[in-house]
């Protein structure tokens, strides 16, 4: 049976107070979760069920284009870009093209939600009911933007796309999804998806090697020997965790991110190509692209200071040039330190000398001395009490 899939990214015009499904200007579907973007995971999930030919239609802005990595993922994936008003028209045309190419069924999914649905079961449900369109619903019977359409039902498809996946032309029995569902509407949903992946509550397996129980490291991730990582945690490919940093409580550091010296990252997602400055305390947030979404406070803040939240160039050439420049700046500084530090040490010793002389005078007030004498007189001089820590 020829089954094809049309994936849609975007297609919403959020009003005030409604979730934007974006972090900054980048849709959640394009962001990495444990080393792979949501769209890549969805494409892999479809392939797992034999739905191999996918069309990916997006209305994402220019900033999001580098993150649409499905383009390089597979030549069989057809990426299409449409202006926000034209997205639904493009989807309708793509559906017609699939039908003309001989597809029997078309799966339409807007990302949007991350759904781990058993497509085999859903398609069987669709065929058994002889429906033209079958919509998926979650465990609470709330509709999901996931449909199976018969390729012959062009009118139904047209109605569906024109109504922005809101109305069905004919009533049909919905299919209840038993698997994992995450609607990915806000930063907290993105965080929950990553955490659920770390805790093996969904099929979003961390991309990398499990070096210790619950700690995954991506290829060429570098963790300083003085940095500490507490499980569960994920450090993505090419990321750097610098000295004295602490990564704890389900923190996810995505690819090519940097956590600088002494920074504590707790229950946080550090998005790809983000540099988290030195000596910071990032807790319960999603950090990246010069933004911080604080999950406990439910606010998203733009941070314009590179010392706090910086960005790392996307192109490997720029990254290499940057690190070479940093190396050349670092070497003279270290050489200068090498010359200056013995002199500074001597100065410090000289400064410390008078304070050592002054110390006895501080400890010799008459009243305190007499009190200590009276205390010691109660016990023999060879009597020693050793106190251990803990209940020993």
């Amino acid at each position: 049976m020829d089954i094809r899939a049309i994936l849609l990214i975007g297609g919403i015009s959020p009003k005030d107070g409604e979730p934007t499904e974006r972090f900054g200007n980048i849709p959640f579907a394009c962001l990495d979760v444990l080393g792979l973007s949501v769209e890549e995971r969805v494409v892999q999930w479809l392939r797992h069920f034999g739905i191999t030919i996918c069309s990916l239609i997006t209305d994402s802005p220019a900033e999001a284009q580098p993150f649409l990595r499905c383009r390089s993922l597979d030549s069989r994936t057809r990426p299409l870009h449409a202006e926000s008003e034209q997205l639904w028209r493009a989807a309708e045309q793509e559906f017609q093209r699939c039908a003309e190419d001989g597809a029997e069924l078309v799966v339409v999914l807007r990302l949007g939600a991350y759904v781990e649905v058993d497509y085999e079961e859903m398609i069987q449900h669709h065929l058994d009911r002889r429906s033209c369109v079958t919509q998926a619903v979650d465990a609470n019977s709330s509709p999901l933007e996931l449909f199976v359409l018969s390729a012959s039902a062009r009118m139904d498809a047209a109605e569906l796309f024109q109504s922005r996946l809101q109305h069905l032309r004919r009533e049909s029995e919905p299919f209840q999804v038993k698997g994992y569902v995450n609607r990915l509407q806000s930063a907290s949903d993105l965080r929950r998806l990553a955490l659920d992946g770390l805790l093996a509550r969904n099929a979003a397996v961390p991309q990398g090697k499990e070096v210790k129980p619950g700690i995954w490291l991506g290829p060429s991730a570098r963790v300083h020997r003085k940095a500490r990582i507490v499980a569960p945690a994920y450090v993505g490919a090419g990321s750097k965790i610098r000295a004295s940093a602490l990564i704890t409580r389900g923190t996810v550091v995505e690819q090519h991110a940097v956590v600088d010296c002494g920074t504590v990252v707790e229950n946080t997602t550090v998005l790809p190509f983000t540099c988290l400055g030195a000596g910071l305390d990032a807790m319960h947030c999603v950090v990246g692209f010069r933004r911080v979404a604080h999950l406990a406070r439910n606010v998203e803040v733009e941070v314009h200071d590179e010392k706090l939240v910086g960005t790392i160039p996307l192109s490997p050439v720029s990254r290499l040039a940057g690190s070479t420049a940093a190396l050349f700046a670092f070497l003279p500084k270290e050489i200068y330190r090498g010359f200056v530090s013995p002199w500074r040490r001597k100065q410090a010793v000289r400064n410390a000398e008078p304070s050592e002389e002054a110390e006895p005078s501080l400890e010799s007030p008459g009243l305190e001395a007499s009190a200590s004498e009276s205390e010691t007189s109660e016990f023999p001089s060879n009597f020693a009490v050793v106190r251990r820590y803990g209940n020993h």
Partner: protein, 145 residues
């Protein structure tokens, strides 16, 4: 129990606290911070963008105030300011109040009185507020008598 009231200066921070604005702001508050036993409240309700320079100014002012036996308190933190203060670990160094009035009142009461306000059935003593002088960019600067 109340202390004798000394003037409390309430200063509204600008919307942007980048390097330029922070320098300007520091210049404005320096006379108050360098006075004897300064009691200062920074109202941060207007702050939308604050960076490391802004945080540095806060720390400098606090250090200077504490050095002169005074104190600096923060009030009405905007969500943006609260996130940046938490991120930079500086939030814990300051007493933070919901609004400027509460921050000003806190100067006039000893700790037991201040703590009593947080108790659910505690006795609420209404203390007369000390003289307040509010300064912001529009009004210019001023110090209460």
């Amino acid at each position: 129990m109340e202390t004798t009231s000394r003037p409390v200066v309430v200063k509204r921070m600008p919307e942007k606290m980048n390097l330029t604005q922070a320098r300007k702001f520091l210049k404005e508050v320096q006379p108050f911070v360098n006075s004897d036993r300064p009691q200062i409240v920074f109202d941060m309700s207007q702050v939308r963008h604050i960076d490391a320079a802004g945080v540095d100014v806060l720390l400098r002012c606090m250090r200077a105030a504490v050095k002169r036996d005074g104190d600096l308190k923060l009030a009405a933190l905007s969500p943006q300011a609260a996130v940046v203060l938490e991120l930079t670990r500086t939030g814990r160094l300051f007493e933070i109040y919901e609004n400027s009035t509460a921050a000003v009142k806190s100067f006039s009461s000893f700790l037991p009185n201040a703590m009593r306000q947080f108790e659910p059935h505690g006795i609420h003593t209404i203390t007369p507020a000390p003289s307040i002088s509010t300064t912001d960019d529009q009004q210019g600067t001023g110090l209460a008598a």
